[in-house]
């Protein structure tokens, strides 16, 4: 018997006595007998922490792809960035970790100010004035953006570039079943969105990716123009690390920015918990999903922070709320503020630059291998797509033998054909490089890929 309950048998007995009861069962006596669980839970008895740790050691051993055992070239919105001990130490302070949503601002200034700093940073990186306090992840942030567009325009047609990550699009399709939104996915040609191929009249939103999930940097002017002429909201799904050096969503004219914040201090974590980034223009503030922290003063005039514009939220607005989100990803937002504080202005530029340098070096090298070709000849940032002479899944397995996680298979991500890829999706490999990858690792990648293709 292992647990974390303080009560001794004596405690339980005296507490029951205080209640005029004789057994713990008495507390449940008012539950209809017919539904009571007679024979208890069908789950083994508890084990001690060290025993459970031993079980988990088995799980971790079976995770061959851990970065401690393999060099990671997979990306697609989840990146193997440096997270220094100092960021881990600060983000794991138990005051941040074990606090609830800051409902009592007088004793929650720590979390509130950290979120305020996070909001400031997201606003700067997105080039938009109104951030929120985080959403679940990029995919669900996109859904919130679509709902905002519906609210803003009253329309339901969502025109989405298929340069948007396939999973994000799938999530948008899933939730559209409830909202009744029409999701129109615009194909890519040579890795670039073919906006000319769609009819955007009555569109509530035009959604573009920057860079798109194949790594390509598209010129967003055309998408912006399309949004303007159809007075739809212009939503940009952007890589926040790119914002260290590239144009921000705001500079491209976005009304809404959404993105994945994992890159800022959160480990790969097999996909979660991650950090849904969201920011918009002043015009949309009353439609903002989720929490937002604002600066104010306390009764004695001292600066203080508090969650504000609460009237939008589910607990007050109920069925008319702008969103149903309650618990969000605050700890990841706090972590992002800490990581960005550590990187600073210069460090973020340096990371972005090194990602680009590594990706371009590797791109040039792999294209030397015969049979390997680029999916697009367009400019890219930190990630690129190549078409292989054989199945990407097979190549990934083969390279794993050399402790290289080669990248993501487009076929697996899209499962099957997708408007983003003209042909041979199963032979398309997405490769990503972060600032952590050394030249030796890049060269080893090339060697391993050659070997995998010969085999």
């Amino acid at each position: 018997m292992a647990d974390y309950l303080p009560h001794t048998d004596e405690d339980v007995a005296s507490m029951l006595e205080f209640l005029g009861m004789t057994s713990l069962d008495d507390l449940f006596a008012h539950i209809p007998a017919s539904v009571r669980l007679a024979q208890g839970l069908d789950i083994d008895d508890g084990l001690s922490e060290p025993d459970v740790a031993a079980i988990f050691a088995g799980y971790t051993a079976a995770n061959k792809a851990k970065t401690t055992a393999m060099t990671c070239f997979a990306g697609g919105g989840a990146y193997d960035h440096e997270v220094p001990p100092v960021v881990k130490a600060l983000a794991s302070r138990s005051e941040f970790v074990t606090a609830y949503t800051p409902y009592q601002p007088e004793v929650a200034q720590g979390v509130l100010q950290a979120i305020f700093e996070y909001q400031t940073l997201i606003s700067r990186l997105s080039g938009l004035p109104i951030p929120n306090a985080s959403l679940y992840d990029a995919a669900t942030a996109l859904v919130e953006a679509l709902n905002m567009a519906h609210g803003a325009t009253g329309r339901s047609k969502m025109v989405i570039s298929s340069g948007i990550h396939p999973h994000w699009r799938e999530v948008a399709r899933t939730f559209a079943k409830g909202t009744g939104h029409e999701i129109v996915e615009v194909p890519l040609r040579n890795g670039v969105t073919d906006w000319s191929s769609v009819d955007a009249t009555d569109a509530a939103a035009i959604v573009a990716a920057y860079p798109n999930y194949l790594g390509v940097l598209e010129d967003l002017s055309e998408a912006k123009a399309l949004a303007t002429t159809n007075d739809a909201l212009f939503i940009v799904g952007a890589d926040p690390v790119a914002a260290g050096v590239l144009k921000t969503a705001g500079q491209w004219g976005a009304d809404v920015f959404v993105g994945e914040g994992q890159a800022f201090g959160t480990p790969l974590s097999f996909g979660g918990p991650y950090l849904g980034l969201f920011a918009c223009t002043e015009a949309q503030v009353r439609r903002l999903p989720g929490r937002i922290v604002g600066e104010t003063v306390d009764s004695s005039g001292r600066k203080a922070f508090v969650t504000t514009l609460r009237a939008r939220e589910q607990d007050i607005r109920r069925e008319k709320a702008t969103s149903n989100v309650c618990t969000n990803q605050t700890l990841m937002a706090v972590t992002a503020a800490i990581q960005l504080g550590w990187l600073g202005t210069k460090g973020l530029r340096e990371v972005a630059t090194r990602c680009a340098q590594g990706a371009h070096y590797l791109f040039d090298e792999v294209l030397r291998i015969n049979g390997v070709e680029a999916v697009s000849n367009q400019p890219f940032f930190r990630e690129f797509a190549i078409r292989l002479p054989r199945s990407a899944d097979v190549v990934i397995s083969a390279m794993a033998e050399n402790h290289v996680l080669a990248g993501l298979s487009a076929g697996a991500m899209c499962d099957g054909d997708d408007p983003s890829i003209e042909s041979g999706v199963d032979r398309v490999l997405l490769v990503s490089v972060t600032e952590r990858r050394t030249k030796d690792e890049l060269d080893e990648y090339v060697r391993a890929l050659r070997e995998a293709l010969q085999a």
Partner: protein, 503 residues
């Protein structure tokens, strides 16, 4: 002692020293100062301008903050001293299940063998993770009495919406269009909000004078256009819906489904299962019942478990054990599709499994028993100063009312909540559920000792004395906290959401 915020700052902002405000990262920032260190890679440092066309490059530099590692550490450490937390003291926030979260689960979450795995790695290279998912799913089903679950939803509300989409898919598959979802007036705000996003209309069912769903009114509201009902049991008042069997039958009779909001699951672990009560869809808040620390607002996880007839609609892909004994991703035949960018909040899921393994079936049953014992002990202990809204045996939380104090001394629930902060306890949930006047909802959880409960009771007794002797002081409370009552109206009137907002 106050002065303009200094770059560099001073510990005076930490409550240990005083009550000054901490400068923001941006106020501390000094041009060219830096903290970051990156590895030496040997990769050719080709100028960005040669790699990326200039029309993509940002002409301006995006300012972040420029601080030293030392100032970064001091800043966030001082901020942490301005923050209450479970690790500092009791946090009896009703409906939030602020139990102590074992540090052991933190160790699991920080294991590189788990958290350094890329979510796009093929199943063959992440078998450990898939086994964790399959094992957790099976145990959550055993706890709820369901047959399969999706682990993708990132929180309770996400689980609710997922559940409603499953409801919709189920009805549509039966070629059956339904318009309305029933919700009791005591329901949490996420319920109606989710219903709307699920494409349904909300019909609110009033509670009866026992704080429970009014069965007659419920029956009256039922009809062939009702897709289902969302309930939490025990409900948000902390009371068990004793007529649940009748409710289930009535809803099922019109072809509707029952959705179980699992936020209050901590009350019934091992005692009764939603499935046995007739629920078809169940979400769980792992961050409440299964000990993920709340992180100041998140992350959580909201897996959704379902009865056999809904399994084929579950979001995909799902981790499953396949014939050769290995684990693989499988998408259900009529899946509603993904509800998360990857596989859900994986690390939170791993924490929950570790928590369940340590407790086991026996321990989880004790968790509910002791949680309910604590709530009832507290309710009974406080009966003379803060009566329960419905005075009978409650489950894991008790909803008390300050209406008496308001009538007698003009002291509102909020005043009591704020004064409690001065006493070293976090406030209970106030003004929720909406059906109780001046509601103070206490959820002690099973991890608090009876000595701590007694200490809380004494603190409340002191507050009630103050209500009689010096009500004014309660309106001014709290004073010993890093800041006193904040001006919420001003925050809303002039939104300052960033350091750059024009002041």
């Amino acid at each position: 002692m106050s002065e303009a915020p200094q770059p560099g700052g001073r510990a005076a902002s930490a409550p240990i020293m005083g009550h000054e405000s901490e400068p923001t990262l941006f106020e501390m920032s000094v041009p060219h100062r830096s903290a970051y260190q990156l590895r030496t890679t040997g990769v050719p440092a080709t100028p960005l301008s040669e790699l990326i066309p200039s029309d993509h490059l940002n002409a301006e530099v995006v300012p972040i903050a420029e601080v030293s590692e030392r100032d970064l550490v001091a800043h966030f450490t001082r901020l942490s001293h301005r923050q209450f937390s479970v690790d500092l003291g009791m946090y009896p926030l009703g409906s939030c299940t602020m139990k102590y979260n074992p540090k052991f689960c933190d160790a699991i979450a920080n294991d590189l063998g788990l958290n350094s795995v890329h979510p796009g790695a093929p199943a063959s290279l992440s078998q450990g993770w898939l086994e964790i998912f399959v094992t957790l799913e099976q145990k959550l089903c055993a706890i709820t009495g369901m047959s399969a679950a999706t682990l993708q939803p990132a929180a309770g509300a996400a689980g609710e919406l997922t559940g409603l989409l499953l409801m919709r898919a189920y009805h549509e598959a039966n070629g059956d269009v339904r318009r309305r979802v029933l919700i009791p007036d005591s329901a949490h705000g996420t319920n109606p909000a989710s219903v709307t996003l699920g494409g349904y209309e909300v019909t609110t069912i009033p509670s009866n004078d026992r704080g429970l769903v009014d069965l007659e009114k419920l029956k009256a509201a039922l009809g062939p256009d009702v897709a289902g009902i969302m309930l939490t049991n025990p409900n948000t008042v902390g009371l068990f819906e004793e007529e649940i069997i009748e409710i289930a039958k009535a809803v099922h009779d019109v072809g509707g489904l029952l959705y179980y909001d699992g936020a209050n699951l901590n009350a019934i672990l091992g005692a009764v299962r939603p499935g046995d009560m007739g629920f078809d869809i169940v979400h769980m808040n792992l961050h409440k019942t299964f000990a993920t620390p709340h992180g100041g607002g998140g992350p959580g996880a909201g897996p959704v478990a379902v009865s056999p007839r809904l399994v084929e609609f579950l979001p995909g892909p799902r981790a499953m054990k396949v014939d050769d004994g290995s684990f693989d991703w499988v998408t259900p035949p009529r899946s509603i599709g993904r509800v998360h960018g990857w596989h859900g909040n994986a690390v939170v899921l791993a924490r929950a499994l570790a928590y369940i393994d340590v407790h086991g079936g026996d321990g989880l049953t004790r968790v509910a028993q002791h949680a309910v014992l604590n709530a009832n002990w507290l309710r009974h202990r406080l009966r003379d100063i803060l009566p329960a809204a419905y005075d009978r045996v409650c489950m894991h939380e008790c909803t008390l009312t300050a209406s008496g104090l308001k009538a007698k001394f003009g002291i509102r629930g909020l005043d009591v909540a704020k004064a409690l902060l001065e006493e070293g306890f976090h406030s209970p949930t106030v003004y929720f559920p909406l059906i109780v006047d001046e509601a103070l909802m206490f959820e002690p959880t099973e991890t608090e000792s009876v000595q701590t409960l007694e200490s809380l009771a004494k603190a409340l007794e002191r507050i009630v004395e103050r209500a009689q002797d010096d009500p004014e002081s309660l309106h001014r409370a709290p004073q010993s906290t890093p800041v006193s009552r904040v001006d919420e109206a001003r925050a809303a009137r002039q939104l300052l959401a960033t350091a750059d907002a024009v002041r």
